[in-house]
């Protein structure tokens, strides 16, 4: 460290930073706490922070009442399905643009970025009619497939961009060296390129799963009841009856926990992916 920082200053800054961080995190913390309360305690006045009767009952209740695991499975299918499909389509494209760029490569990339600026309502009506008219909303399978395809398409520009910025960093000389040593194209790909590309692929996959998991325009409008992912299932708590705070909290905690953990692992990649490589 270049500068000496007085301990006193560090303590003051730390206290301030922790206070702000806890304030920002508080809604999530409160949701997690509430998920372990009984419904009565969840609305107690004054609010109870830690000294309540901790219980797991809400988690069982949410599952038994609404088949939570089905919606969880739908989220997994949609998020992973759209990501893997997207990678299959995007890897060759990003590869080609990174390793044999032409004059038009930059234009193609910018054009891909521009498709992201189209608001969803610009494409929504025909898709909605398609889902309605062909009864896709009545079929679990068709609804799932439809959402996988749509989410793949809306995130494809991000996947291509992100992969491109990663592949770009793989030095071309290494390929030439391998070629000189007499490696075949297959060997080149398996032994040289793949190991170097895996970190980029993993980051891209991670970010895309997060985006697809949390997507809430297309999933809200295109999911049949039994194909609904968590984002849509949770929306049914918009105007429920009776006491439900603890159950809402339990359902919410389970819906955000996996992504929260994945997200914390991918902070760096997040910056890069969401800014199309503009900020690293």
């Amino acid at each position: 460290m270049a500068r000496n920082v007085s301990t006193r200053r560090k303590v003051i800054v730390s206290v301030a930073a922790w206070a702000v961080a806890l304030l920002i995190f508080f809604p999530i913390l409160w949701t997690i706490l509430t998920s372990f309360k009984t419904e009565g305690e969840a609305v107690a006045s004054p609010p109870q922070f830690l000294f309540f009767h901790w219980t797991l009952e809400n988690y069982f209740e949410v599952q038994s009442r609404s088949n939570y695991f089905l919606h969880f499975a739908n989220s997994v299918i949609i998020a992973f399905g759209s990501t893997i499909l997207g990678l299959i389509v995007a890897v060759p494209a990003a590869w080609a643009m990174a390793f044999s760029p032409t004059k038009r490569t930059k234009d193609v990339l910018m054009w891909m970025l521009s498709t992201k600026m189209m608001p969803p309502v610009g494409a929504f009506i025909p898709i909605y009619l398609l889902f309605q008219g062909f009864g896709l909303l009545n079929s679990q399978f068709a609804s799932r497939v439809g959402m996988v395809v749509v989410l793949m398409l809306i995130n494809l520009p991000i996947i291509v961009w992100m992969l491109y910025t990663y592949f770009k960093e793989i030095p071309g000389e290494i390929l030439e060296a391998a070629r000189m040593d007499g490696a075949s194209l297959a060997k080149e790909i398996i032994y040289v390129l793949t190991p170097m590309a895996i970190p980029g692929l993993a980051s891209t996959m991670l970010l895309n799963i997060i985006l697809a998991w949390n997507e809430a325009f297309w999933t809200l409008n295109l999911s049949s009841v039994d194909a609904a992912p968590l984002s849509t299932f949770i929306a049914s708590y918009s105007s429920p009856e009776g006491l439900f705070y603890a159950k809402l909290s339990a359902a919410s905690t389970m819906a955000i926990a996996p992504i929260l953990i994945l997200g914390w692992f991918s902070q760096k990649q997040l910056v890069r992916g969401l800014t199309f490589g503009a900020v690293k």
Binding site: A21, T115, I210, Y245
Partner: protein
């Protein structure tokens, strides 16, 4: 360097992505334009007559349209101001040496990973509920009457929810940019006797310009289409107080089943989004070069 062989291979490799994106951009858009010229309502079966630009005329002259523009503008503008200003402040704070820096960063970042429907419902029920919400308890504690947030100040409430979700994003991007600032430059400025304020204005802010640009651009793209937060909290109400353009188009097709009118609205939304994109890109375009 690239031989003819690898060039054509490259073209083949790019084809699926380009074709898919092209189809995704053109086909629905062309269909929407076509629908927007028809008298087409799902509730009245029969022929869909060509009516020219009548749908556009109805859509634009409907007071709901102007209202939705204002709501969209206030929502995007409000959330942008909070997240950019708050994000700069937070990034400056978190750039200092802190005990437990990693954990603090994780806590600040967390709201970004909360799906919009969950974020909106947590705020709606557990914080903004006028009887059982924590904010109501807080207001009572300091001797104020609890506020019925989503009825009295509905748009402001939604701005708070959206800003809470996007503040971490702005903070993370700006913090990443701050960390690439040359330490020596700051020291040199200090040696020249620059105070904290002038250091901020002349060194830190210019260095952050590019990152701020990126934050504004990306948030604008997403915030223009805010939907889930509105759907699960207010349904666009009370009245039309929180109906933005996206929600207006949604209600035209899903609630009124008016394909023609909704399509006209969708096309207008596309045009406006493009104008905004060009405007934002140009206004801050220099920063995106390189």
């Amino acid at each position: 360097m690239a031989t003819l062989h690898t060039r054509s291979a490259a073209r083949v490799m790019m084809t699926p992505s380009v074709l898919l994106l092209f189809a995704w951009m053109i086909v629905p858009l062309a269909m929407t334009i076509y629908f927007s010229t028809l008298n087409y309502n799902l509730l009245s079966p029969g022929a869909h007559d060509f009516i020219g630009l009548l749908n556009y005329e109805y859509f634009v002259t409907d007071p709901a349209f102007l209202n939705s523009l204002i709501v969209t503008l206030l929502l995007v503008g409000g959330a942008l101001i909070i997240t950019v200003v708050g994000g700069i402040a937070l990034a400056l704070l978190l750039d200092q040496p802190i005990f437990g820096q990693g954990i603090v960063r994780m806590l600040v970042l967390a709201p970004f990973f909360v799906m919009p429907t969950v974020a909106a419902l947590i705020w709606k029920h557990m914080f903004m509920n006028p009887v059982n919400g924590l904010l109501a308890h807080l207001f009572k504690f300091v001797g104020l009457d609890p506020l019925t947030w989503l009825e009295t100040v509905p748009l402001f409430s939604i701005v708070i929810i959206v800003a809470w979700q996007w503040l971490p994003f702005a903070t993370l991007i700006l913090l990443t940019a701050l960390q690439s600032l040359d330490e020596e430059q700051k020291e040199a400025a200090e040696m020249d006797g620059a105070g904290a304020v002038s250091k901020f204005i002349y060194i830190i802010l210019p260095h952050l310009a590019r990152a701020i640009t990126v934050v504004i651009l990306i948030e604008t793209i997403f915030l223009l289409s805010a939907f889930a937060e509105i759907l699960v909290t207010t349904n666009g109400g009370p009245g039309t107080a929180t109906t933005n353009l996206t929600y207006l188009v949604y209600s035209q097709i899903v609630l009124s089943q008016d394909v023609g009118g909704a399509s006209a609205g969708g096309i207008i939304a596309v045009i406006l989004a493009n104008i905004v994109a060009i405007f934002v890109m140009r206004a801050v375009g220099k920063n995106l070069e390189a």
